[in-house]
Amino acid sequence: MPQLSKDARHPVTLTLNGVEVSDYAEPRMLLSDFLTHTIGITSCHVGCEHGVCGACTVLIDGVVSRACLTFAVQADGTTVETAESLASDEGELSDLQKAFKKHHGLQCGYCTPGILMSLTAWLKENPKPTEEELRDMLSGHLCRCTGYVGMVKAVLDYCENREG
């Protein structure tokens, strides 16, 4: 691959939530900024911009990733999933989202998309987590509204009652 010059914008193509999108980015552009300001999605929230808060968490080729610690040019050619992928095209919430709503797993909602994306990857590897395992995983996200209690209830309820 050729070296990308800092002074130019370079083509970046992603499969974003099942749809191919293309635009241009300087090497220094963070994936979080590319998704928000260039592509125009609204779920990739930036809280701390140094990987601590987890609000910008997305899946890159299925791997849970901080979009604020990834450059757009690094993600060229990958598949990216954000919280927009969770509800159906008709706007019906996913079962996990419904559980969050039912158990008051969110208040302001700023941290929620990142948490939902972490859970999407993590619950595939850990389909029946204990509360302790779940809280350990949630330690990678900061939520200042809920105290995590509703969130934990929502995930455990979802895992207990989901089909398959």
Partner: protein, 275 residues
């Protein structure tokens, strides 16, 4: 909170990466997982002329046994080692240590060799490498060399790696027969930087304790097997030798006390897991 402008190269091979590193001079930086480097870029603590991305070099993504060592390539994520089938049997210390590294979300991207290169004095992977007596493989345009953990990490965030070298592999010694291993740490919150991190090894005749977060680098001491007050005295002397520092999270005195208390606990746990 945005990095300065830099050139970017996604390297297709180690040869390409070391050539670019040699051309790039002192301001070229290697990126793999980016979990430590990108925060420093965002804060502009690091201002590189070029970032050379080695995370997609397929030949460097491996975990394999070689001559009594488990060798981990520089594109291998911490989560891959965490999920490696042989981990509990071959590297029981790492099986205990890895869950303390950052969070699930950062282990998914952060690499083993990246953490060693970053050389944070409180990090789990450098501490484990030092305690087990492992080594790193350094590759440059002019060839390869190996350095012991002790010779590699020279201080806080500093190593003996030259500007034209990449840490291309980490080599962790396989479990010693009959030995027991234990790891713990104290942090303010789950996944925070450790105030003190402790790695213990016990064999039939020796006990060894590695401490992170107190001195400017992981520090290891070995004794003949000790118990009771003799162990307390040895740990007390070790704690004073480490010194420690005051910061916003803890005083040096508190750190030394953790070395005494948790040091004893870790050594007792390592003894009890001897097989």
């Amino acid at each position: 909170m945005k990095p300065i402008s830099f050139d970017y190269l996604k390297a297709g091979s180690t040869e390409e990466a070391v050539a670019a590193l040699a051309d790039g001079g002192d301001d070229a930086r290697i990126i793999a997982g980016g979990m430590s480097l990108v925060p420093m870029l965002n804060f502009r603590l690091v201002e590189p002329s070029i970032l050379i991305d080695i995370s997609k070099i397929a030949g460097n993504n491996y975990i394999r046994e070689d001559g009594g060592m488990v060798e981990v390539g520089c594109a291998t994520r911490q989560a891959q080692l965490e999920k490696w089938d042989g981990l509990a049997e071959k590297l029981p210390l790492l099986a205990a240590a890895i869950p303390f590294i950052g969070h699930y979300q950062t282990r998914a991207r952060g690499t083993v060799c990246g953490s060693l290169s970053h050389a944070d004095p409180s990090s789990e992977l450098p501490l484990s490498l030092a305690t087990l007596g492992g080594e790193v493989v350094l590759t440059s345009k002019s060839g390869q060399r190996r350095l012991s953990a002790d010779a590699f990490q020279t201080g806080m965030l500093s190593t003996a790696k030259r500007a034209d070298e990449i840490v291309t592999a980490a080599r962790y010694p396989v479990r010693e027969k009959g030995a027991g291993y234990a790891f713990t740490e104290m942090a303010q919150r789950r996944g925070d930087f450790a105030i003190v991190a402790l790695a213990g090894v016990a064999t039939g005749s020796k006990i060894r304790l590695g401490i992170g977060g107190v001195a400017d680098r992981p520090t290891v001491r070995e004794w003949d097997v000790l118990d009771g007050s003799a162990l307390d005295d040895a740990l007390n002397e070790f704690a004073w030798d480490l010194g420690g520092y005051d910061d916003i999270h803890a005083t040096a005195r508190y750190r030394r006390e953790l070395v005494r208390r948790l040091g004893k606990r870790v050594i007792e746990e390592a003894k009890s897991c001897r097989s």
